[in-house]
């Protein structure tokens, strides 16, 4: 089993897998999944929602690494947490953009405050953008690592709390709730969705490994420079 999962732990294996899955997922989106009652715009669903779920997953991963850093004082966990949150912010920006395009298609507006998931994402996105401002305004060192980690932990608490808050707020801001799913998903749609989700997760994993590799290389070169000079 461990040998089977080994390619999933390096950038190259993940990138290859992501390439295959994205190709299959895109093909399934356009040639296999039926055009449902919503029309063609529903195709955005197959990558907008996986991208959003990927962003949540990477934020969660970042918080987990933050916990490992605080708890076990594992060296490198801080960097991993940072890179995961960086990935989350990239996928978060994509979620906002693709969600906005979808809103324009379905309701004729680029932004809808009634669209709960989008609003939630905006709050989370603003929160994590501040992460970078905070991190880069503190001198590198153990204190920066600790503060970043605590902030990352606050993020995963803020996500469900904000979700609840937005549900509550619709009571006095937007009494009419939109339903996104509409009819039940058909089997072929579900299969397409799952492939697309797997594709996005492996893509995020590949980018995460790639960026981590770069950052580690950076640190090693700095170390080497100090050794040589």
């Amino acid at each position: 089993m461990k040998k089977l999962l080994a390619p999933l732990d390096n950038a190259v294996g993940l990138a290859v897998l992501a390439t295959v899955l994205i190709a299959v997922g895109t093909a399934m989106t356009f040639f296999y999944a039926p055009v449902d009652v919503d029309g063609l715009n529903q195709k955005i669903f197959y990558f907008h929602v996986p991208i959003a779920l990927t962003a949540y997953a990477t934020f969660g991963w970042g918080a987990w690494k933050a916990l490992v850093h605080l708890w076990k004082k594992k060296p490198g966990a801080d960097l991993e947490s940072y890179v995961a949150i960086h990935q989350g912010t990239i996928f978060g920006a994509l979620t906002l953009i693709t969600g906005s395009i979808w809103a324009k298609l379905r309701w004729g507006h680029w932004w809808l405050w009634g669209e709960k998931e989008l609003v939630l994402f905006l709050i989370i996105f603003l929160f994590y953008c501040t992460y970078f401002m905070l991190r880069y305004s503190i001198e590198a060192g153990p204190r920066r690592a600790n503060i970043s980690a605590v902030y990352a932990l606050f993020g995963v608490i803020l996500i469900p709390i904000s979700f609840l808050a937005i549900r509550l707020a619709t009571n006095y801001i937007h009494p009419v709730a939109f339903t996104k799913q509409g009819p039940q998903m058909a089997g072929s749609q579900f299969a397409t969705f799952m492939v697309c989700l797997a594709a996005m997760w492996t893509l995020a994993g590949a980018l995460y490994r790639l960026e981590l590799l770069g950052k580690r290389l950076d640190l090693k070169i700095r170390e080497l420079r100090e050794l040589v000079l």
Binding site: G39, L40, N41, K43, I44, F47, H48, I51, I90, A93, L94, I97, T98, I101, W102, K104, L105, L203, L207, L210, E211, G214, L217, D218, I221, L224, R225, V228, L229
Partner: protein, 57 residues
Amino acid sequence: MTSTEKYVAAAYLVVFVMILVYVVIIAAKLARLDREIGDLADEVRATRQDEEPGSAG
């Protein structure tokens, strides 16, 4: 192309472009790392030559 098709294509394009921008940034980073390693190698070579003037580096 209907307007719906345009929007769907645009959404795909945004994702594609963003990932490519990421690739560009990583490529730039790799180029910088490559340069730095080259500099380091040069420096090591220079110090070695200073230490043993007779030998061919």
